[in-house]
Symmetry: C2
Subunit: 378 residues, 2 copies
């Protein structure tokens, strides 16, 4: 096991009818900005619950944070915050709203060009405190310090991470997810699955507890993910998917083991350039990454095949192929397509993405690797 | 799944040669009291590493905190702290040192009788900050707000818990455990196993991730626990046992599920009245609790039998018995005795313990239940 440090101070408040507890967690006398997205919270009752919880607080609103939150939108919120002297941010929505709010929180008192926080991962020394009311289980942002931001004018989608970007608290009421469209449910399950995979599908590191934990999350996503589509009003199903998605990226299963975020990094380009949903890009890319890096992932593919999918027959090479196929088939069982051509894209998309990684001089994801990964996925 | 909140702000620093990082975690200008136990840290090199790390800090020492830390000893440290105006406590040792230090931290500014913190679970509103250098994987106290304290004059062993008792940081260097006596290694593995069981061996709660996580910890303890005895200098074995013991009682597997701490509560009486090691008492008591409460634990005993011990044959009743036996046999494989008579005790110890629970009016653990549990364990 490698040395590690783990420090996750987010307070999780989980369960039915918990949104009212917002009022206990926000500092007295705070001036609150409620950030949200396209307005779904006004249709599913979440907005009313948040407004009721905030009745004792001075607060204002900033809506319209997009899926794949845009830098340009976040900067409008920063202006509002400076003008109105906001002291606390309450992000109400899915991962995009939370990620955008993290950049907003960091940018408010940042001295330089806030885009550098994302593009150059420029360190920042202060950020407004954030609370979260999560309505979409997927990204894990509710219990980590990560954020992914898109810049529309340059078609870039990039990430940053900071201890200052951890929410102070996150409220997870599974009932808020009852009204999600099936596509968002599927995308969320795929996203959580791939988060686990990026931290797990790597050379063994003599870390059996981390392995068992990762496999635990994968099993729950497989067992419960489909039920979230077929029985959308089953509270326990929704609760288990939500908790699994949070646990998939809160730092715990990464303790002491190697990581590989190739699938996410290549996937981000498909979103930035071609507008695929984040979860869709992951389902397309990951089987290609696994086959391209088969040698280094071989032992864990065997292990996942056996422990997660029950694949025990055949030669090791066959079992590895079966494990990759089983993963892709799971994504497809959720209704998520896994080929570029199924999204109307062909091999012409590959070279521009390969060139982007070449231009960035990415240490691990070379242009050749991108070509090899995506050529398989047309 | 039940509603829950989870908030664990302890910073874990895990790995080889990490004790020097103490210097980065203690506030500048702190006046530090180093608390420790019987002096083993002066034989295994830990003391020297801590002293070197503290070279830039004003600090003093308080040694002699016993296994099953005594209230009376803790109060001597409180006097020293008040006299010397100590501002930070660094607990160096196993669970007893850490637990004693938690009481010390709370008692320093407590207005009333500090014994009430333990005996009456009197709330406290302030505590000195604590850092931990852990040398014995067992209790999980390094990543929670719990403490168990013994009062010698009344032969009582009681616990308290507070958000203010969480360490600010805990340093876990598995190499510090190389020199542990086998009995302490075994006790630690049993303790961690039973911590998991108290949170897991209860009626199913539609919480599959929590179940899988609990089973993950049990499997690691079973797979690695014996190796810690047979290959005591294997770093990865020590690391896996240490991390599993921390994860066994940091609140995570308790999220959203029922708990039952009967084994601990009855076991505490065997320590308080008859001096058995904590781990020894748990190994004696737990099979009795499981058989006494077989009906409510039946489904999970079956599940553990299958998933943890691979018990799949026979009628359910037989598999449940086999699962209980497998657990007891695991404890015995570590060299831990599991019967009162093996510790020189007979049935005469039962009634005084039953009477204690009757006198306390314990809601769940009745005198009759204690009699039924312990009669099986002579």
């Amino acid at each position: 096991m490698k040395n590690f440090s783990y420090h996750n101070p987010v307070k999780i408040i989980f369960g039915k009818q918990t949104i009212a507890q917002v009022a206990n967690e926000i500092p007295a006398h705070a001036k609150v900005l409620v950030t949200y997205g396209g307005g779904s919270i006004k249709k599913n009752g979440v907005y009313e619950q948040v407004k009721a919880a905030l009745s004792g607080f001075s607060h204002l609103e900033f809506g319209g944070i997009e899926p794949n939150p845009r830098y340009e939108t976040c900067m409008k919120a920063v202006e509002l915050i400076r003008r109105e002297k906001v002291t606390f941010l309450l992000a109400v929505g899915g991962g995009s709203v939370v990620d955008g709010t993290k950049l907003i929180a960091a940018a408010v008192s940042f001295g330089g060009n806030p885009w550098d926080i994302v593009a150059k991962r420029a360190p920042f020394t202060a950020a407004l405190p954030i609370g979260v009311v999560l309505t979409l289980p997927a990204t894990g942002t509710e219990m980590n310090g990560n954020s992914v931001i898109t810049r529309a004018e340059t078609q870039e989608k990039l990430s940053f991470s900071s201890p200052l970007a951890y929410p102070k608290f996150s409220i997870l009421d599974p009932e808020t997810t009852y009204s999600l469209p099936p596509r968002q449910v599927s995308n969320g399950v795929v996203d959580a699955f791939v988060h686990v995979a990026e931290q797990y599908m790597n050379p063994p590191a003599s870390a059996p507890l981390q392995d068992y934990y990762a496999e635990s999350i994968l099993k729950v996503l497989i067992e419960e993910g489909g039920k979230a589509l077929s029985a959308p009003l089953d509270y326990n199903v929704r609760a288990n998917v939500m908790w699994a998605a949070t646990m998939a990226l809160n730092g715990l299963i990464a303790c002491g083991v190697p990581q590989d975020w190739s699938t996410h990094e290549i996937g981000h380009e498909l979103t930035a350039l071609h507008g695929l949903d984040h979860g869709q890009t992951l389902a397309v890319v990951m089987p290609g990454v696994w086959r391209t890096l088969r040698a280094q992932k071989f032992d864990k593919l065997l292990q996942m095949g056996e422990r997660v999918f029950g694949i025990t027959g055949g030669a090791p090479e066959e079992r590895v192929e079966a494990a990759i196929d089983a993963t892709e088939n799971f994504f497809r069982s959720l209704g998520t397509k896994t080929r570029l051509s199924e999204y109307g894209l062909n091999a012409s998309v590959i070279e521009p993405i390969a060139q982007r990684f070449a231009a960035r001089g990415h240490a691990f994801i070379t242009a050749d690797m991108v070509r090899e990964v995506l050529t398989q996925r047309v």
